[in-house]
């Protein structure tokens, strides 16, 4: 018999550790009992109560509105920023680049506080719109990073060749550059979407009473203890983000294969 090394064993234990909490949530989401930690039979009642819960549904709607709007704007602004940073040299470029990294580095709580103070001092009423504006800041940064990484691995002469062959800058961008960076834009958007759906702090600080996103709703419920319908919601959300993660990895894998094939 082949001897299993301690490293192999340890890694499998750590894999189990990573998935154990998720499996626990899934297990209890099908448990008929409300309070007991023990198993009292299979039931879908928590899933039923979740999809009938108006507050959860309206929070989901708010979250989706914020994520879709923020990602749509960020996809355009972030891509433009990445292309601009890759193509041009100008004074203050490193400062610009440094500022664009800030949302990835500065803790959410500090960004949330700063945004709240800013919105309060210009007297803007907090609403779904202020949440979207605040989410664009970090979505933009993540999309720009992903697109920049792809751009840095790209042949810079492709676009020049298109220009030499008589394309105008807009055509060169649409026909040559965009198809090359499209997979990066899509996976950047998926990442930004998941982060936006997941964000609790920045939303809480910029929503006021005007909106309640899903993480805010979940937070207000779970801080007072375990709620079985939250288990069901967790399972649904985890499956959804798992699917997005898979899509993103697949796109990245495909574009890498294509690049290697060239």
């Amino acid at each position: 018999m082949k001897r299993i090394s301690w490293q192999t064993l340890f890694t499998w234990i750590m894999f189990a550790f990573m998935y154990f909490p998720i499996l626990v949530l899934a297990f209890y989401s099908f448990n008929a009992s409300r309070f007991s930690a023990g198993w009292e039979g299979f039931s879908l009642r928590w899933y039923a109560s979740m999809i009938q819960d108006q507050r959860i549904l309206s929070a989901l709607q708010d979250s989706l509105t914020v994520a879709i709007a923020a990602v749509a704007v960020s996809a355009v602004l972030g891509t433009m920023m990445a292309v601009g940073l890759a193509k041009f040299r100008f004074p203050g470029k490193s400062l610009y680049r440094g500022v664009s990294y800030l949302p990835l580095i500065v803790p959410d709580i500090a960004i949330a506080v700063a945004t709240l103070v800013f919105l309060a001092s210009i007297g803007l009423a907090l609403s779904l719109w202020t949440v979207i504006a605040a989410h664009i800041v970090f979505c933009l940064a993540y999309i720009a990073i992903v697109v920049s990484t792809r751009l840095s691995g790209l042949n810079p002469h492709l676009e020049e060749a298109a220009l030499d062959l008589g394309a105008n800058p807009f055509q060169a961008f649409m026909k040559v550059l965009l198809p090359e960076i499209a997979p990066a834009i899509v996976s950047g958007c998926l990442l930004a979407f998941v982060l936006s759906m997941d964000d609790f702090l920045i939303s809480s600080f910029t929503a006021g009473g005007g909106a309640t996103t899903l993480p805010m709703e979940i937070f207000s419920r779970v801080r007072t203890g375990v709620k079985p319908d939250m288990n069901a919601l967790s399972v649904v959300l985890i499956l959804a983000s798992g699917a997005l993660a898979f899509a993103s990895e697949y796109i990245r894998y495909r574009s890498e294969q294509r690049r290697l094939g060239q």
């Binding site: 998720i22 949530l25 433009m80 580095i105 803790p107 709580i109 800013f118 990073i145 779970v222």
Partner: protein
């Protein structure tokens, strides 16, 4: 270069760098970079300068007329009770970093060097997949496990061990943080271990080093930049994390992030003090980033 002959053979185009051409060279970068730049300026740079400003006004509460400038908010941090909060935040962040390093290194090592090469990418993706799920839900899952009537105590009871009451303790916070951020550590260590020159390990073995010596004298020094980068990253994100201490730590685990939250959305509202704490947090993180840029691995900046 294949490009130069073509541009030389079309003198008609290059001889007239028209005004329109020069203008477009100026307008293009502006068009591409200004929208995002304005957004970041308005909603990130100016707000940060604003909290720096109000952190210097002691005792500011919403709706009040600001008083005179002073360092009162920063001096309040030296109250014993607030110093204890800072110390606890550092303890959570450092504890999490050490645990992630100890747990993450063998995993990254196994995936990068010992697993079948065909499976390497898939194994890595599978390990970091939980990162994509909501951090709120991951911490919530640990409530289910650690609460007095939770999974852990059911399992302990089943094998005849005494129950543990871990929920609402610092240990629970460190468990939650380590679980949440372990994938980052593994990602960065993997990137570093993957580049490890295996010939060095073979050479060490040829020269009579045992596995342990080869590991300590070759593997660890070679991956030191990755270790530094992973550790600093985990340190930074656990220092600023709000949800794990809030949900798993209970009243006794006040951290800097929770204290900031309370100054704005909690019971004790004090925007000036909250802003000062935010500036301290930003300063601590900047310091860690400066260390990362100085000693870290340049290739993994993209994470």
């Amino acid at each position: 270069m294949a490009v130069s002959p073509s541009s030389a053979s079309t003198p008609v185009q290059t001889s007239s760098p028209s005004i329109a051409n020069r203008l477009s060279r100026l307008v293009q970068p502006l068009l591409l970079l200004a929208p995002a730049g304005v957004w970041l300026l308005l909603l990130l740079v100016i707000p940060t300068l604003m909290i720096l400003n109000i952190s210097l006004i002691p005792g500011l509460r919403p709706g009040e007329i600001p008083g005179a400038y002073g360092l009162g908010n920063f001096l309040r941090i030296f109250d014993p009770i607030n110093l204890r909060v800072m110390g606890r935040s550092l303890y959570f962040a450092i504890g999490t970093t050490i645990i992630c390093l100890l747990l993450g290194f063998p995993v990254a090592y196994w995936i990068a060097l010992l697993s079948p090469p065909r499976w390497r990418n898939l194994l890595l993706v599978a390990f970091v997949l939980p990162l994509w799920t909501s951090s709120l839900l991951r911490d919530y899952a640990w409530i289910t496990i650690l609460r007095p009537t939770g999974v852990l105590n059911s399992l302990l009871g089943a094998i005849g061990l005494p129950p543990q009451s871990l929920l609402n303790t610092g240990t629970a916070v460190i468990i939650g943080l380590s679980y949440s951020f372990l994938p980052y550590m593994v990602l960065i260590l993997y990137a570093s271990l993957e580049k490890l020159d295996r010939r060095l390990l073979e050479a060490a073995a040829d020269l009579g080093a045992n596995a342990r010596q080869a590991f300590l004298k070759v593997t660890v020094p070679q991956t030191l930049p990755g270790i530094a980068a992973g550790s600093l990253l985990v340190f930074i994100i656990s220092l600023g994390d709000f949800i794990a201490p809030e949900l798993l730590g209970g009243a006794s685990s006040m951290t800097i992030a929770r204290l900031i939250y309370n100054q704005f959305l909690g019971a004790t509202r004090n925007w000036g003090f909250g802003s000062a704490l935010s500036m301290i947090l930003i300063l601590a993180v900047s310091l860690a980033i400066a260390l990362l840029l100085k000693y870290g691995d340049r290739d993994i900046e993209s994470y």
